[in-house]
Structure formats: C-alpha cells, structure tokens
C-alpha cells in the first residue's frame, strides 16, 4: 500500500520537476508493475476448516467407594433435530460422592475427548454447578488451576435428606482479552460452552 503512495508521490514529483511527457509512460508502467506485484501477494490460507467446537455429550461420574454411576446429557445430532437425551441423576441420601466430568464429541471417529483440552486450558475454563433447591445436592470443585482458581472438572458432591430437584452444570470459557487473563473465579465473564440441566432424585 505504501508502495502505491510512494509511486504516487514519485509521479507527482517527477511531473513538477521535469514536466517531460515521456516520463509519464515510464512512471505509469512502473506503477502498473507495482500493482501487479501487489495483486499476486495473496492472503495466507488458514488451515482447512474443521468443526472443533462441537460438544455432544456431558458425562457426570459419581463415585462412592468402589461404585461409579454415570449420567449423560447426549445430543448426538447437534443443535435442533432430535431432542437431547438426558439421564436422571439418582443418588443416595447423606452421602459424599467424588464427581468427575467428562466432555465428549461423539460425532468424531474415534470419539474426541474434550476433557483433556479443557484440562490443558484450565486457566480459562471454569465449571459452575447450580442445584435447585440448594439443599438437594451441594457440589464443590476440588481441582485448581495454575492461579489457584477452581476448575470444576473434579468435585465433591454431597447429598443430605431425600428429595428431588435439578442440577445445572455450566462450562464457562473465559479466554484472555488482549493477552490479559480474565478468569477470576467468578462466572460472570466469558461465554458459555455448555449449559446442561439434569433432574436429580435423592432417595
């Protein structure tokens, strides 16, 4: 771009200085060559598109002692189409479980495990657990990122009395803004990568 302007200036200057007509053709040709050169500089083509943002499955693994029960939120055909299949979380009262979250993209073959990606980028991810009513289940993250903020891929879940309710599990993606980290342990920044709600039954 600056080249063109340089050429423009050059033309203007030569025109003022010499006012010789035969120069015009020369300068014009020069300018054309510059433009032709610029046309040939193309944008770098980025890597081919791959749909890497799809999440089809959120899996909650509740472990107590040696028994692990698994509950899924599955939407294999993506947004729209068939409605997601959501398991009902069934837990025992007055029990503390170890909770592990797995995030998968089951449209890929082999199945793509997004959990490892989230782990790798734990400084910009946080999982929020909301249970309604709050008494039905209380979930606390047990893992920490490099800046000592919770991540939430591992947690402890505690039940009290029997009852029913809902558990919402939300993954917030909080990437840095202009290379400044933004994750501060709250859920108010960033955008949502998944937001799934399970029915909970404690009996």
């Amino acid at each position: 771009m600056f080249l063109v302007l340089y050429i423009c200036n050059y033309i203007a200057l030569t025109n003022i200085k010499y006012k010789k007509m035969n120069l015009n053709l020369k300068t014009f040709l020069m300018a054309s060559v510059t433009v032709a050169m610029m046309v040939s500089c193309k944008k770098d083509e980025p890597a081919p598109v791959e749909d890497n943002e799809t999440i089809t499955t959120v899996r909650l693994k509740f472990t107590q002692g040696s028994t692990t029960t698994t509950f899924n939120f599955k939407d294999l055909d993506g947004d729209g189409g068939n409605a997601p299949v959501v398991d009902k979380i069934s837990l025992k009262p007055n029990t503390t479980y170890t909770l592990a979250v797995e995030v998968l993209d089951e449209t890929k073959n082999p199945v793509s495990d997004i959990t490892t990606e989230i782990k790798k980028e734990q400084d910009e991810h946080i999982i929020e657990y909301v249970s309604t009513p709050a008494t039905v289940l209380s979930v606390t993250a047990t893992d920490k990122d490099s800046r000592n903020f919770p991540v939430g891929l591992a947690a402890s879940a505690k039940t009290t009395t029997a009852g029913t309710g809902k558990l919402r599990v939300i993954l917030h993606h909080q990437p840095p803004v202009n290379n400044v980290a933004v994750k501060n342990g709250t859920f108010t920044v960033g955008s949502t990568d998944f937001d799934v709600a399970f029915d909970v039954e404690v009996r």
Binding site: I7, C8, A31, V49, E117, E121
Partner: protein, 837 residues
C-alpha cells in the same frame, strides 16, 4: 415488376418531400448538420426496407394494391410528421459562484459554431429552446470569472449548471449536473461534492447514513450496512462501478466490501428497481460511481487524502493518480489506493475491547475511447480485518440476558487504553472485482454496451475457540461472473428513447471443501451452491410536452443447486428453479421550471437465499435457533411512490411518499405452539426457536428534504424519514424497522476559499412500533446527537474538521445489533487533509 416499383418510386418521392420538410428551422452549425445528415441517411435505409416489405405484400395480393398504397401514404405522413420536431430540444441551467451559492447575473452563454447566445437572468437562469439534436460546445463567460467550456450531446432536454470560479484563482473545475439518468421517475438521493468529502474515511454504510430514507443496520461500530426504506441485506442491490456486488450479503453482520474512496458520487435509488437491475432490487439500489477516466488530458494529476479520527485513533491514507498518454489520444488511466488502521473505539464512557479495524484497498482502471467506440478495464481489491467487540461473544441465552442486565459491559471488556490488536472474534474479508466494459455506437441501431465482470469474495470468520487453535470458524468463497449486453437505441419517431438488454450471472459458493459437490462439514450455516441466472428487459421512455413517461418489462430465471451435508453427515443436493416477470411504469410531470412531480409504480423480486432455505442451527450472535425451509417461494415487491420536487431561488424541497407491498416476504417468525413461544434444547441450554416463513408485508413511509437559504451565506437543510412496516397477514409490526429520524444542518458559507462552518443534529425517536415480548430488550430511548463541521480550501489543499457526537452522549441505537451489549460511539473528532495536484 412494375407493381413492385411503384412503392419504391413513391418512397423516393416522399423521401425527397420529407427532406424538404425536415429542413432545420435553426441555423445549422458544422458539427450539427453533419450529425443530422447521418441520421437522415439511416432513416432512408429503414424506409426502403419498409417499402420492400410492403411491395412483397403487394405482389402476393395484387387486388389490394390500392389499399396498401393508401396505407403507405398514411404511414408516411405520420412518420414524416414525426420527423420534423428534431429541433425541439431545450437546454437550460443555472449559473452560480463557486464558493457561495450566489447566482451569476448577466453571464453570456453561447453555443460554439452557432449564432445562438443568451444571458443569465437575475436568478442566474438561462435557457435555449428549439435546438436541434447533436453535439454542442457551451461556453459560459462572465466578467471577473474564468471562462467555462462544456461539451454536451443534446438528445431531448438537458440541464447544464455552471459553477464560476474567480479569475484570481487558477483552478478549472466544472460541476456538471442534470446528466441523463436512469430511473427518472424514482426518488434518488445523491452524496457527492462537499457532503461526500465530509464522509471520507468512513465505511460505505456510514457515509450513506445522512441521506433521507437511508439508515444503517449495524453490528457494533465496524460493521454497517445500508437500509433503504426499511429494507436491507439481500433486498438492497449495490452496484459497484456498474457491477452488482456479490458478497455474503445475507448476514446482518456482513458489510458491503467496497472502498468509498473509489467513488466521486454515491447515489441511492429509493424503491424497487427490478426491471433494470434484476433480482434483489426490492428496497432500492446503491450506486458507487467513480469519475470518468481522464480521456482528454495527458497531464498526470490526482489527489492525496489523509484522515485522522480521534475515536479509535484511526488513520486513513488514500490517493488517486490519473492521466493519459500524450502520444495516444483517448487513452486514460487511474490508480487508486486506501489504507486504514484503527484501534479499539470508545463509547462515551468506556473503550470497547477488540474493536480495531484494518483495511487495504486499491484499484486500477484503464480505458480507451473514441467517438464511436470505447473500452475500459477496471480492477479493484478490497481487504479488511474487523475486530468484533469481545464483550459481545455469547454462548447462550443466559449469557445474553446477563449482558443485557449489565448497564455497561464487564470491565475486562473495557480496557483503559485502546489497542490496535485484532483478536478473536473477528472477520477477515477480501473481495476483488475485474470488470471490462465496452461500447460501440452503431450507425443504425444505437449504442451497444457490453459489461463483463468477475468477482471473488472471500470471507473468513474467526470465533473464540478452545485451544487457541489457528482454525477459522467460517470460510466462504464466492465466485461470480456477470455479463450484460445493453442496446440504448436511437430515438423511435424522435420521441421514444430507451434500451433493451440481456443479462446473465453464474455463481459458485464454497462453504466448506474445495469442490462444489464434495462438502466436508455440516456446521457452516449454508451449503455449497451453484447459481445461474438470466434476464431480458426493455425500458422505454417517451417525452411529451412537460410529461415524461417511462415503462419497462423484464423476465428473469434463476436456477440454483445446493450441495451439503445434513445433520447426520449424509450428502444431499437440492435444485431450485425460479422465474419472474417484472414491470415498471413511471411518469414525470414538470409543472413549471421549479416544480416537478414524479410517479412510479414498479416491482421487483428476490429468490430465497441459501440461509433462508437451509439454516438449521443456533445463530450465536442472535442467541436464536433458526430453521430454514426449502419450500420457500420468491418474494415479489409492488412499489408505488410519488415525489414532489420544488426548487426556487431560496427554497427547495423534495417530498416522497411510498408504499411497498411485498408478497411472500421471507422472515424469521418466532415458533409458537398453542400461543406459547417454543425453545429448542441444546447442549448450551435452551434457545428461542425461529422459523423462516413467508408473510405479506407492507412498508409505507415518507422522506422529506428541505433546503432554505436564509441569507446569501446561511443555509438551513433539514430532512425527515419515516417508515411504517407491518406483517399484514398476521397484523403485527415487523422487527428491526428504522425509527423516525430528523436531521438538521445549519451551514454558513464564507465568500472565499469554499470555507464553511456548520452545525447539525440528528434526532432519532424511540421505535414504539414493536410487538410486546418480541425482543430480548425494549427499543432504546429517543436520542439526539450533535455534530460540527468546518472546511476550507487553500490553493490545492482542502482541510476539513468534523466533530461527531459533539457532546459525547451515551446512547444506543435500535438498528445496532450490539444495543444489547454496549453504547454507540462517543465523541469523534476527525481532521481531513486533501491535496490535489
């Protein structure tokens, strides 16, 4: 044999008689008589063909000879009668001083090579009547001013205005207005001259914002697309240097890929123009028109522009160099380039992260022209990177609701100081256009023009992604070939002028993969597709006394084939065939020299877009689940408009009222079941569901422009735009319709150096015509913003200063999609320097 000869003899006799009758009443000039004689020669040829045809008829049915002879007499009489008024052309105009709009009284205007001359009257007006068709050189002279010479080709009626320059300055510039325009009977708004200069550095959409009836649909500060009479995107056609601009125009966040520095004039035809331009011209047409190449001057000249904006610390450099080649007369060339870089922009109270822009464009044009033939090659390249406000990236409805609830964006999205870095999310676009236009003025039929174009639009959208991977989210490659063959025929019966044309388009779009028929992924919003399109049209214009009638007809077909993958990853292809017949009728009535009334009835059509046919997924920016419908039919607009234009020495106004019925209007309708709004559950939560449906829509409105010269130097300019839009099938208001808008500018022009100071405001009322619960957020309140402008020209340097949003008001605009997230731009001071050489 003898029988066959009779009509020839008769024709010869009448031909002579006709030549006598056709004796020019006004004294002939050299060039003038030459052009007329060729014209008559053509007529002779036509007449002879006519008689040969008739003589054949006579041979076939000898008994009816008398009848045919009688018929011949009759026809000849009619045509010969029509031949005589060749010399009823009029030429008129107004002469005023350059710096101030003061009339030049007593200027001499004469036609070179004739003995016709006149003086301008007290209002600076002059006129010539009963001139013959042909080329004239008009010379305008007045004491104390530089002589101006202009060549015009007179066909019927022509207006030539002169702007006189003081003799103490050494610039020769002629402002030529009143050129033959298409769409005579439609309302047209033009941005050129000083008003265009004031918009330099802004995007195309932003530049057009001040025109009555034109709004912009924005996505933040960097993406602006024009809205004409409430219609936008694929319902507005943009002609970039005569070629229809083909980009991914369906998205509201897709701005036109055009550098406004290319143009010396931006015009907006308001209303349906389907007959001349084919599909999509439902709301109107925007024309980006560069100046004619300098065919006559070998001198190299041009201009350099520098613009700086305080808001976003944006700088723009743009230059033009043009000239000819001394040894090759009739050859002209032009080089043009623009570079633009801006950092994060500021609202009244905070900086918005990641709103920087960068743009680099250039164009090359070369042409050769003689009196009867010309050809021009134009190439332009447009390349831009647009940052999208980091705080607008949302994953689901909760995120959006949180953003709406916060009065201002979270502080991590409002950095203390602006940055030039463009991070994700952003858009990276490139558009190139190659155009070859040639014309040939034929001896018999008229002027042929052939316009061929090839354009390539490459749109990359980068969303915020996990893993900071260098992957693009969307990658559209659109290649379009267009062609148009146009014949502007010679006047028929000396009264009817017009044109006949053929146009064609072939387009391919790659949303994924490298081959049309091998799509790779199914999350790219629209499938790969291929479109072929053809049209034929005729437009004729008739002048009768103070009336001018215009009518036209067009037939179009459009075949499209889409190739994609469905939700389960299975390949599909679908074919679509659409066709349509459009018509237009217009009338112009010139009541007096100052008062004109225009009436226009027109229709236009648009075939459904690929996104309207195939969408099936969450539109993240809008937090909505959108579902297309492959059974959509084309929509057809029926447009009526009436304009009144009054212009007198001090007062001028234009009032346009319009009514636009659009049958099968395609739009996103909220999905309801038993009166309940429906949502679609996804892994990111529930999204409100919308379906592409067809309704009948009615758009009606008023555009009003008013201009009053309070004193010789003080000028008041006001405009008012109003649109009312309803879905008449369900009797509900349409969404995203511009609110009522008032603009006022008070301008003081100094006598010298084109200097001026102006102050203006824009009042935009709150849009109250919305259905309850139809939006996440109620329309923003009424706002009023002020701007101040000043300019001066010192020899070859023009300086301009503008302050937009002078009082740094915090406000939000209904037509900005980011009204959910952030305020509009705060105060923006810009300085423009233009150097002409």
């Amino acid at each position: 044999m003898t029988i066959q000869l009779i009509p020839l003899i008769i024709s010869d006799f009448f031909w002579r008689k006709l030549t006598w009758l056709g004796h020019p009443p006004c004294p002939p000039s050299k060039g003038e008589s030459a052009s007329r004689s060729t014209f008559q020669k053509n007529e002779t040829i036509d007449f002879h063909n006519f008689y040969v045809y008739f003589s054949e008829l006579i041979v076939a049915k000898p008994k009816k000879i008398n009848y045919y002879i009688f018929l011949l007499f009759f026809l000849i009489n009619i045509t010969s009668h029509a031949q005589t008024p060749t010399c009823n052309c009029t030429l008129k105009g107004v002469i005023h001083e350059r710096d101030i709009h003061q009339a030049v009284v007593g200027a001499v205007i004469y036609l070179k090579g004739t003995n016709r001359s006149t003086f301008s009257d007290a209002k600076g007006l002059y006129s010539f009547n009963n001139l013959c068709q042909g080329k004239y050189t008009i010379i305008c002279q007045a004491i104390g001013f530089q002589k101006v010479e202009v060549e015009v080709n007179l066909v019927q009626e022509h207006q030539e205005d002169f702007t006189m320059q003081d003799t103490d300055e050494h610039l020769q510039e002629v402002i030529v207005t009143g050129k033959k325009e298409e769409n005579q009977s439609q309302s047209k708004a033009v941005l050129s001259g000083q008003a265009l200069e004031q918009s330099r550095g802004q995007s195309l959409g932003e530049a057009l914002k001040g025109l009555s009836g034109v709004n912009v649909l924005q996505t933040g500060s960097s993406i602006a697309k024009p809205v004409i009479h409430g219609l936008h995107s694929n319902r507005v056609l943009i002609l970039n240097n005569g070629i229809r601009q083909e980009g991914q125009q369906w998205g509201s966040e897709h701005a036109p890929e055009i550098d406004p520095f290319v143009a010396t004039k931006l015009s907006v035809v308001k209303g349906a123009s389907g007959v001349r331009y084919g599909s999509d011209a439902i709301g109107g047409v925007i024309m980006v028109e560069p100046a004619t190449l300098p065919y006559d001057s070998a001198r190299i000249h041009g201009e350099a522009n520098l613009v700086g904006f305080s808001n976003g610390q944006m700088g723009v450099v743009s230059g033009i160099v043009e000239g000819g080649i001394p040894t090759l007369k009739g050859f002209g060339w032009r080089l043009q380039g623009t570079f633009k870089k801006g950092a994060d922009v500021e609202t009244a109270n905070y900086v918005m992260a990641n709103t920087g822009t960068q743009e680099q464009n250039f164009s090359v044009a070369m042409g050769y022209r003689t009196n009867h033939f010309g050809t021009e090659v134009f190439f332009s390249y447009f390349d831009t990177q647009l940052g999208i406000f980091a705080g607008s990236h949302i994953g689901n409805l909760t995120d959006l609701q949180n953003a709406i609830q916060n009065q201002r964006p979270n502080e991590i999205y409002t950095p203390i100081s602006p940055s030039y870095n463009i991070n994700r999310p952003n858009q990276d676009l490139a558009h190139n256009l190659l155009k070859i236009k040639s014309f040939l003025i034929g001896e018999n039929l008229g002027k042929w023009s052939l316009t061929l174009g090839r354009q390539y639009d490459w749109r990359l959208e980068y969303d915020v992604q996990r893993g900071n991977r260098n992957l693009n989210t969307l990658n559209f490659k659109l290649t379009t070939y267009t062609g148009e063959l146009l014949l502007e025929h010679r006047p028929i019966f000396n009264k009817i002028t017009g044109s006949v044309g053929l146009s064609g388009l072939y387009q391919t779009n790659l949303s994924s993969a490298f081959e049309l028929r091998k799509p790779l992924i199914n999350t790219v919003l629209i499938p790969n597709y291929e479109v072929s399109n053809g049209g034929i049209f005729v437009i004729e214009r008739l002048l009768h006394k103070q009336w001018e009638f215009e009518t036209g007809l067009r037939y179009d077909f459009r075949n499209a084939q889409a190739f994609g993958l469905d939700k389960s990853g299975n390949y599909f292809d679908n074919s679509f065939h659409f066709n349509n017949l459009s018509a237009t009728f217009g009338a112009n009535l010139r009541l007096t020299d100052n008062w004109e009334i225009k009436f226009n009835a027109a229709n236009a059509w648009r075939s459904p877009n690929m996104n309207e046919l195939f969408s099936d997924g969450v539109h993240h920016g809008a937090a909505a689940y959108e579902k297309g419908n492959i059974n959509l039919r084309p929509e057809v607009a029926h447009n009526l408009s009436i304009s009144t234009i009054y212009e007198h020495a001090k007062l001028g106004f234009e009032l346009t009222t319009y009514l636009n019925y659009i049958n099968d209007f395609i739009y996103l309708k909220p999905r309801t079941e038993n009166g309940q709004l429906q949502t679609v559950l996804t892994i990111r939560g529930a999204f409100p569901a919308y379906d592409y449906t067809q309704v009948d829509a009615r758009f009606a409105g008023i555009d009003f422009d008013f201009n009053y010269l309070i004193t010789k130097q003080l000028n008041l300019k006001s405009s008012y735009s109003l649109v009312r839009a309803k879905d008449i099938l369900n009797s509900v208001f349409m969404v995203n319709i511009p609110a009522d808008r008032f603009e006022n500018t008070l301008k003081y022009s100094f006598k010298k150096r084109e200097a001026f100071v102006s102050i203006g405001n824009r009042l935009v009322l709150r849009q109250d015509r919305v259905e309850a619960n139809s939006d996440f957020l109620a329309p923003p309140p009424t706002y009023k913003i002020w701007r101040v402008d000043a300019g001066i020209k010192i020899h070859k340097i023009s300086l301009g200063l503008s302050v937009q949003n002078a009082f740094n008001k915090a406000y939000r605009e209904y037509l900005n999609r980011f009204r959910y997230f952030a305020d509009e731009l705060g105060r923006n001071v810009s300085l423009r320097v233009k150097y002409e050489f």
